[in-house]
């Protein structure tokens, strides 16, 4: 009895000891900064007491509101395009590439991850520039007489993002496809389903969690990214992270920057809740 009680008490203590660093880390680097940011968002830039003016400014200034619209539009386009490109890519890797080559193929697929994010964005700027590879090819081949404006546009921002997130999504979808037992497809074939029907009614629904996890990660990383739109977008439109940075870099207005960041975080939370059904880590 005594020994059972002792071991019953010792286990939670050991458990707490193991969990404490993670809890401490979260408390120090997430909860406390978040509370500080929330508090800051409710204060005025020039001192004074409690105010909702920072939030009011976002909802009443069309230029600020437009930044959120732009962010959501770009993020939606990037997420959809990345999924559409990554799925067939992951499928080919998982189903068509021989097992012994898969590791190498995956490594090649994620090779661009090894380059600095900033360098990669500037590289795209050079590729898409008026005198860049694409425009030279288009004008040189006679398809266009004048170079197209590709750099410093929303299209450039989307291309930069998609290049990055296709790699990420490929990994999550590939992992999901590899976990799928071949028995499902065999069962579907036994029941008379053709390849297309098997894919649409068996494979796709079963790989939906992988797609949703990747899509959610894409959404979160894309909606909060500052570098890519800043380098590739040419400031021809502002996205939310750029608007946040403007408040800090230009005016040192941390309260307004905090309010904008919390609004952005609320949007991410809504996205999470929308995807929550597929994001649960469960093992049947």
């Amino acid at each position: 009895m005594n020994s059972a009680t002792n071991s019953g008490r010792a286990l939670p203590r050991a458990g707490w000891a193991l969990v404490t660093p993670a809890l401490g880390w979260t408390l120090l680097f997430f909860v406390l900064p978040f509370v500080a940011m929330g508090f800051s968002s409710l204060t005025a830039h020039d001192g004074g007491g409690f105010t909702l003016a920072n939030y009011g400014q976002f909802f009443t200034n069309p230029a600020y509101w437009q930044a959120m619209v732009n962010s959501l539009q770009v993020t939606a386009i990037v997420t959809v395009v990345s999924v559409l490109l990554a799925y067939p890519f992951a499928w080919i890797l998982a189903e068509q590439v021989p097992e012994r080559w898969q590791r190498l193929a995956l490594m090649l697929a994620v090779l661009p991850f090894w380059t600095s994010y900033v360098v990669r964005s500037y590289s795209w700027l050079l590729v898409l520039a008026q005198n860049g590879v694409i425009n030279r090819a288009l004008t040189g081949s006679g398809l266009f007489s004048e170079p197209l404006q590709l750099a410093n546009t929303r299209l450039a921002t989307v291309i930069g993002f998609v290049h990055f997130f296709v790699m990420l999504l490929t990994l999550t979808i590939f992992a999901n496809l590899k976990q799928l037992s071949p028995s499902y497809r065999k069962a579907a074939a036994d029941l008379g389903a053709g390849p297309v029907r098997t894919f649409l009614h068996v494979v796709l629904p079963l790989t939906l969690p992988g797609i949703m996890v990747g899509a959610f990660l894409t959404f979160v990383l894309c909606v909060g990214d500052y570098i890519t739109p800043q380098i590739l977008g040419g400031n021809n439109e502002l996205l939310m992270p750029q608007l946040v940075m403007m408040q800090i870099g230009r005016r040192g207005d941390f309260p307004l920057a905090s309010a904008l960041s919390i609004i952005l975080m609320a949007v991410v939370t809504i996205a999470y809740l929308a995807c929550a059904r597929w994001l649960k880590i469960e093992r049947a």
Partner: protein, 368 residues
């Protein structure tokens, strides 16, 4: 192998006691690091700077001559600089580079130490850039102009009609649509828009903002991009655009060797004069070294190095700067009296007008 009986067996130690001893070790290591860090800090000069001061060619001669290390922290814009100061402890910083027009803001916050006029080469400065109305507050000098230049029209002279570059109207006409970049800093470009509609940069009020906004929107409609220093410089240098609104010698001079076709004009309506100053912090723990640093930067040798810094070139405030003839030619040194006569200072809005100007700028950026 012998085992000390007093040494706890690691395999039987409780996780919490292991954690506790590791925490003690970590605390001791941190304390040691902090101690050595603060010792190092006491012998260093800590400078809040713009990127031109980060050039080793500028800092090394001072460091070697005085046996100190200059620790630099780069920032862009007075707002960002002030934010860094507000988040620092008094005494963390010794000197700061700041827009000359913003020195009164720093004085108002009680940040700066008066500088001794008799120990600075004030008589050698271009008279128009001494800017005593900003650098001297209540009879005391709190800053000294070290470098200046113009936010005006930068262009590739092989791609544009030079006569067009003599008027700001070229920026809003159809002729150069899609061939223009705008420098992404609201104050000078708003100043240029004000000049274009016949307003003086020092007399701007909230009532002028609607007309200024219209002018900015016309420029934006012609622009391919709105870029910060590197992006706008690259766009002009690579031929992505032919004209840079807000450009000047700070863009063209540094690239003169690689691209001699780049140049700038001071149009009929005028240009915006930018000028940067050095100030010393009141709470500096190294005031003697800080003053030596300011004296070095203002010396003919320091001025030449600062003027031709790797990040961007600009006119030295000291007329006796030790520049070569070629460097003077690139900076158009001899034309300065005429340029200065036609230039107007940066707009210097109060906090309320500044916020409204930034909102106008944000609306311009969002405009399609």
């Amino acid at each position: 192998m012998t085992i000390n009986p007093n040494t706890p067996n690691p395999t039987t130690r409780k996780p919490l006691s292991v954690l506790k001893s590791h925490l003690h070790a970590a605390c001791a290591a941190t304390a040691l690091l902090l101690a050595t860090g603060s010792l190092a800090q006491a012998a260093d000069l800590n400078a809040l700077i713009w990127c031109d001061h980060a050039d080793p060619a500028l800092l090394q001669p001072f460091e070697e001559a005085n046996g100190v290390k200059v620790n630099v922290k780069e920032f862009e814009g007075t707002g960002a600089g002030m934010a860094i100061v507000e988040q620092s402890q008094p005494g963390d910083w010794d000197v700061m580079v700041i827009d000359s027009i913003d020195i009164p803001r720093g004085v108002e916050k009680g940040l700066f130490e008066p500088l001794p006029d008799d120990k600075l080469p004030l008589a050698d400065l271009f008279p128009q850039v001494k800017m005593d109305s900003y650098t001297v507050v209540d009879g005391k000098r709190y800053g000294i102009t070290e470098k200046f230049g113009y936010n005006t029209i930068g262009y590739n002279k092989t791609k544009v009609d030079l006569a067009d570059m003599q008027s700001l109207a070229a920026l809003t006409g159809d002729k150069y649509k899609g061939k223009i970049a705008i420098y992404d800093y609201y104050l000078p470009v708003i100043g240029m828009a004000a000049l274009a509609i016949g307003k003086k940069t020092t007399e701007l009020t909230e009532a002028d903002l609607p007309a200024i906004k219209q002018e900015l929107l016309k420029m934006k409609a012609n622009a391919k991009l709105v870029g910060e220093v590197t992006a706008s410089q690259t766009a002009l240098a690579t031929g992505e655009v032919d004209i840079l609104v807000g450009g000047g010698e700070w863009v063209t001079a540094g690239l003169a060797k690689e691209n001699p076709a780049l140049d700038f004009s001071i149009p009929r309506e005028g240009a915006v004069l930018w000028s940067q100053s050095l100030a010393m912090f009141k709470d500096s723990k190294n005031k003697d070294t800080a003053l030596k640093f300011i004296q070095y930067i203002m010396s003919p040798e320091g001025q030449a190095r600062l003027a031709t810094s790797a990040c961007y070139w600009g006119m030295p405030a000291n007329t006796k700067a030790a520049l070569s003839d070629e460097q003077k030619k690139i900076l158009r040194f001899d034309e300065q009296p005429d340029f200065l006569a036609r230039a107007q200072p940066y707009p210097a809005p109060d906090a309320d007008l500044d916020k409204k100007m930034q909102d106008v700028w944000t609306e311009m950026l969002q405009a399609q």
